[in-house]
């Protein structure tokens, strides 16, 4: 059996302080089996002088020595930096009570009398080394625990109901700003530090814990002696006896002021951002309104100008000016729509309308655009779609118009087809589909297609006009109205955008409204 520290290469050093050579020889021999490093000193002076160099883990100290005796050596040794904690075994032939008392009083760890029993000495030393190491470990753990609690601003207390004394960890004193006297603290003093606004709540929780045995966890404010207000998280657990009565309560208090402050700051920052966003939208809204009024003037005057007699060249210039003004107006309207949607100003109002008629109108509106690109534009209505349904026609038309507009814009040849049918998944839902034979949308672009200012790619932006707001407007209108919107697409095969609206159906020829 060696007594080396487990898991380390450190040797254990024993210092033998004795003027008698044969005594030193015997002690060394007695301890040799345990593989200690043995150092010897022939006097107290010798031991003290070389103490730091030898750095022993345990000292065997003879009491009666010429020069300074063992007692005096011990007193001096305890004042050395490394000597305060080290186990010191006093060795003497004086086995009377007084000298034993004296030895313990000045800090001897243990005491053995001559003539020594070498076996007992060996075990005594081993035991004392273990106890000393365990003690050092405990101290280290306590220091670490205290440091961790200090960092976490976490303190704990123990309280036995029925008295006013709390057993507190040192961090309690830091948290509450008390001057540390000892580990026992008046409970009343702790309670007095609780913010008056929270006092009742905390008092009730503690009473419930003391009487009813219920644990608690809460945040509350405390007021430090300096007047500063802090926030703590306070938690307590109750130990019950066999009869269910409270034996004691253990509580933990953590200062969470900084966390609370950060939370409040984050909340404030979020509110500020939301406000800024709202202001921005309102700004766009106002500006668009302001610009639209003169634009209306321009458009109105241009159309009046059309009615006058113009030569061919003037007519051409006018057409170009009119078209440009028209595009600009559309852009403004989109912007306005978007900002209004953003501020949630769209009012959902239902009206009756006919799906076939709506599709026919959309076709008529876009026929010119389709013709100019020689794209076929057509529509179909499934037979089970009622002639009349209710829904917000304005908003539905707005979405479908954008989808049709887009379909034509992004299709170079082939057809754009509009159709209305019952939703395959939910029969009380009408589904509008706008299919094109355009170049389609790649799978990784689909998730972003409804985000504002996004077009499929940079080259499209150059090729096609617009700000990339159309689909964002569609999505926002649909969301506001509670409609479903989506797209199915494959590259080079075309896209199908769909809009699903729940609606009350008015069957043709029947006056009874039926909720589908």
């Amino acid at each position: 059996v060696t007594d080396a520290v487990p898991g380390s290469n450190e040797t254990t050093t024993i210092l033998i302080v004795d003027d008698d050579e044969s005594q030193r020889v015997l002690m060394r021999e007695a301890l040799a089996a345990a593989q200690y490093q043995i150092e010897e000193a022939t006097s107290g002076e010798d031991a003290l002088q070389n103490f730091a160099k030898m750095a022993p883990d345990l000292v065997l100290l003879d009491v009666d020595m010429p020069g300074i005796d063992g007692y005096q050596t011990l007193e001096n040794l305890r004042r050395l930096p490394l000597g305060s904690q080290i186990p010191v075994v006093m060795v003497t032939g004086l086995d009377d009570g007084n000298s034993i008392d004296k030895a313990y009083q000045i800090g001897a760890t243990d005491f053995i009398t001559k003539p020594l029993n070498w076996t007992i000495l060996r075990y005594r030393v081993r035991y004392l080394l273990r106890a000393s190491r365990a003690f050092l470990q405990l101290q280290k753990s306590q220091v670490r625990l205290a440091a961790a609690q200090r960092l976490a601003r976490l303190g704990y207390w123990e309280w036995t109901p029925g008295n006013d004394i709390l057993d507190c960890s040192s961090e309690i004193y830091h948290i509450f700003g008390f001057e540390k006297s000892n580990r026992y603290q008046s409970f009343e003093k702790l309670r007095a530090a609780i913010h008056p606004g929270d006092y009742k709540m905390v008092k009730q929780a503690i009473e419930d814990a003391a009487q009813g045995g219920s644990s608690f966890a809460m945040d509350h404010r405390i007021i430090l002696p300096s007047g500063e207000e802090r926030v703590v998280h306070h938690q307590a657990a109750v130990t019950l006896d066999m009869q269910g009565h409270t034996i004691d309560i253990t509580g933990a208090v953590q200062d969470i002021t900084e966390r609370k402050q950060t939370e409040a700051e984050l909340r404030r920052a979020k509110e500020e951002i939301e406000l800024a966003n709202r202001l921005k939208t309102e700004f766009i809204n106002n500006i668009s309104h302001e610009v639209r009024t003169p634009m209306n003037g321009v458009l109105g005057m241009l159309s009046l100008l059309r009615e006058t007699r113009l030569d061919k060249e003037q007519q051409e210039y006018l057409d170009t000016a009119y078209d440009s003004a028209d595009v600009l107006m559309l852009l403004l309207n989109n912007l306005l729509d978007f900002s209004q949607l953003d501020t949630g100003k769209v009012i959902a109002e239902g009206s009756e309308f006919s799906p076939p008629l709506l599709l026919q109108e959309l076709i008529n509106d876009h026929l010119n655009a389709a013709d100019s690109k020689t794209i076929r534009l057509d529509y179909s209505v499934a037979s089970d779609v009622p002639q009349e349904v209710t829904g917000n026609l304005t908003q539905i038309r707005k979405i479908l118009a954008i989808l049709v507009d887009n379909a034509i814009k992004f299709t170079e040849q082939g057809a754009v087809l509009l159709c209305a049918k019952r939703s395959p998944s939910r029969s009380e839902t009408i589904r509008f589909e706008i299919s094109d034979t355009g170049k389609g949308i790649s799978a990784d672009a689909i998730p972003h297609i409804f985000e504002p200012f996004v077009q499929v790619d940079g080259s499209s932006t150059r090729q096609h006009g617009g700000m990339g707001m159309g689909l964002a407007i569609c999505k926002q209108v649909a969301d506001n109205m509670g409609y479903g919107i989506g797209v199915e697409s494959a590259l080079d095969e075309g896209s199908t955008f769909w809009l699903e609206i729940p609606c009350t159906v008015f069957s043709a020829g029947a006056n009874n409204a039926t909720v589908m």
Binding site: D19, D20, E21, S22, Q23, V25, L26, E29, A30, A32, D64, P66, G93, K114, P115, L116, N117, W118, T119
Partner: protein
Amino acid sequence: MADEEENQGPPLDQSALDNIRALTSSVLARVINIYLKDSPDQLSALQDAIQVADAENMAKIAHRFKSGSANLGASKLADMCRTMESMGRENTTHGAEALLEQMNAEYKRVEAALKQELEQVA
């Protein structure tokens, strides 16, 4: 004096020697040799102290001699040392000369017995 000597038991307490033997066999020889080398010096130092009536020094030497003797089981000699040490602590050398004479005699017996032990070890 002669009568007393004859009434004395064995000079060495074997259990003390066994206590040392339990460590290693070689250490006993080492300790005996140290003791046999030191003891005559101690006895003559005691003689000197008594002659100049230096009670304090006498007590110190007696204490040390006692410790070494006790370790090797020379109980009778250790007792004599203790008596002399007490005398010295009470600051007197009165009667110490007679006691020293007894100690010299006892040491001779101890010395003989220890030499015998050495032979056995060897």
